[in-house]
């Protein structure tokens, strides 16, 4: 192992840590993407005028925001095999994180829709826009833009939350740092290194968010009323 990874144990450990960071980033990105795909229909359900559909959407959001992520992960890892769904731990982790972040992302998206004045729908229909056209050209672009900052916050939250997948055996940044500490007994050094990597990724995300917000804000009215 050490020969493959490098000459000294310290360098090998650093490389392992970076591999773990890669896993953390991969799981987080996959979870955010899956979460967005689930969030769209959940948000639509929450906005639906149909009571039953609205209730189901609300139930989804309430449950996945109401149960600790660790418990959701344990359920995905131990309960799914019971109902005959044997998943590799990486897939189970992405699934659990994705389903959970979907609840938060759905609420963010809903917030984006709710700030659009109702008059715009009326105006669109007066201009002869169909329902779908109104969504596609009027509502969706504004809602996505308005909820973009919240999406980055959610990315940061998921990146941090992904440390919990170490518990179900995924070799992420936290798990790798635990393994390294188990071998060389330098907890302060390696847990600090892991913390520094999480912090660095989050700072990059936060900086990118500010830049994106600035860019996205260009088309928005900035005139003081």
């Amino acid at each position: 192992m050490n020969e493959f990874l490098g000459t000294t144990p310290a360098i090998a450990s650093v490389r392992l840590l970076l591999l773990g960071a890669g896993m953390t980033v991969a799981v987080s990105i996959a979870a955010i993407a899956l979460g967005f795909a689930i969030a769209a229909p959940v948000c639509a359900a929450r906005l639906s005028a149909n009571r039953g559909v609205h209730f189901l959407g609300s139930l989804y959001v309430s449950f996945f925001r109401g149960v600790p992520l660790l418990v959701q992960l344990l359920i995905a890892y131990y309960l799914l095999p019971v109902i005959g769904l044997e998943l590799p731990s990486f897939i189970a982790a992405v699934l659990a994180l994705g389903v959970c972040t979907a609840a938060y992302q759905a609420e963010n998206l809903r917030g984006g829709f709710l700030i659009i004045p109702a008059g715009q729908r009326a105006a669109a229909s007066a201009f002869g826009y169909g329902r779908l056209q109104t969504w596609r050209h009027i509502l969706l672009p504004q809602a996505l833009r308005a909820s973009a900052p919240a999406v980055v916050n959610e990315m940061i939250a998921i990146l941090k939350a992904s440390s919990l997948i170490s518990v179900v055996g995924v070799a992420d940044l936290t798990r790798i740092s635990q393994n390294i500490v188990a071998r060389n007994m330098q907890p302060i050094l390696w847990y600090s290194a892991a913390a520094a990597i999480y912090l660095a990724i989050n700072l990059v995300l936060a900086t990118a968010a500010r830049a994106a917000e600035h860019r996205l804000g260009r088309g928005m009215a900035t005139v003081a009323l």
Binding site: S62, Y78, V82, P187, Y191, A194, A195
Partner: protein, 222 residues
């Protein structure tokens, strides 16, 4: 796949003691977080610039890294610098320091949303700085801080589950132990999820009711 309720009955004492511990950890952790957050929030708003930078670093660190890694640093790294804590103390301090960073931001936002003109007006009426903060700024800021504080309290409640990883026998730990003893996964985990769900919903509802009650003077008549 059948649902065996007698299993839960059999483990009821363990589950109830876990639930009690979860609630106790939540209350103590939230209290520490509130005290830490209040002190840091005041420093962030009114402290000298250099101290503000230090506090800002604290807040960024604790909000930018996972709670689990912070707990590992405290619990396993602590003894290396002469800070040997048992799991429970490390868990409570870790949860408190983590939540404190979020509370600090809530305090800062609340305090800085009160116009400085009010503080100046109070000073010119002969209030000392401390009295002006105590009687003019804080009462208003606390009301503004209520909604984010309720959210944070719910987050802290859910994060108590992470403490099970440090082998603290709270609810999640008890249920995990139960699954390992019985090899039954469905009943314990279903009960665990529903238990947290009810607890969180209850906490959120109570919080919103309190919010409503305490901010009723700010609601304008239509």
């Amino acid at each position: 796949m059948s649902f065996d309720l007698s299993l839960l009955q059999q483990y009821a004492p363990d589950l109830l003691s876990g639930l009690r511990l979860t609630i106790e950890i939540w209350i103590v952790g939230a209290l520490i977080a509130f005290i830490v957050g209040a002190a840091l929030g005041l420093l962030l708003t009114f402290g000298p610039p250099r101290l503000r930078t230090v506090v800002r670093c604290y807040v960024e660190f604790f909000r930018g890294t996972p709670l689990l890694v912070q707990l590992f640093l405290l619990y396993y790294g602590g003894p290396r610098i002469g800070l040997t804590l048992n799991a429970m103390t490390a868990g409570l301090i870790g949860l408190g320091l983590y939540g404190g960073a979020y509370f600090a931001e809530i305090f800062r936002a609340g305090l800085s949303s009160i116009p400085t003109g009010q503080l100046e007006a109070a000073r010119s009426f002969g209030y000392t700085r401390r009295d002006a903060l105590r009687h003019i700024v804080l009462p208003q800021a606390l009301v503004l801080m209520l909604p984010p504080s309720v959210n944070l309290l719910v987050i802290i409640l859910k994060d108590t589950a992470v403490l099970s990883i440090l082998t603290i026998p709270e609810l999640t730990f008890q249920v995990t132990g139960m699954t390992l003893e019985t090899f039954a996964f469905v009943e314990p985990y279903a009960a665990l999820a529903i238990g947290y769900w009810l607890l969180v919903e209850l906490a959120a509802r109570l919080g919103h009711a309190a919010e409503h009650h305490l901010s009723r003077h700010m609601v304008r008549a239509a």
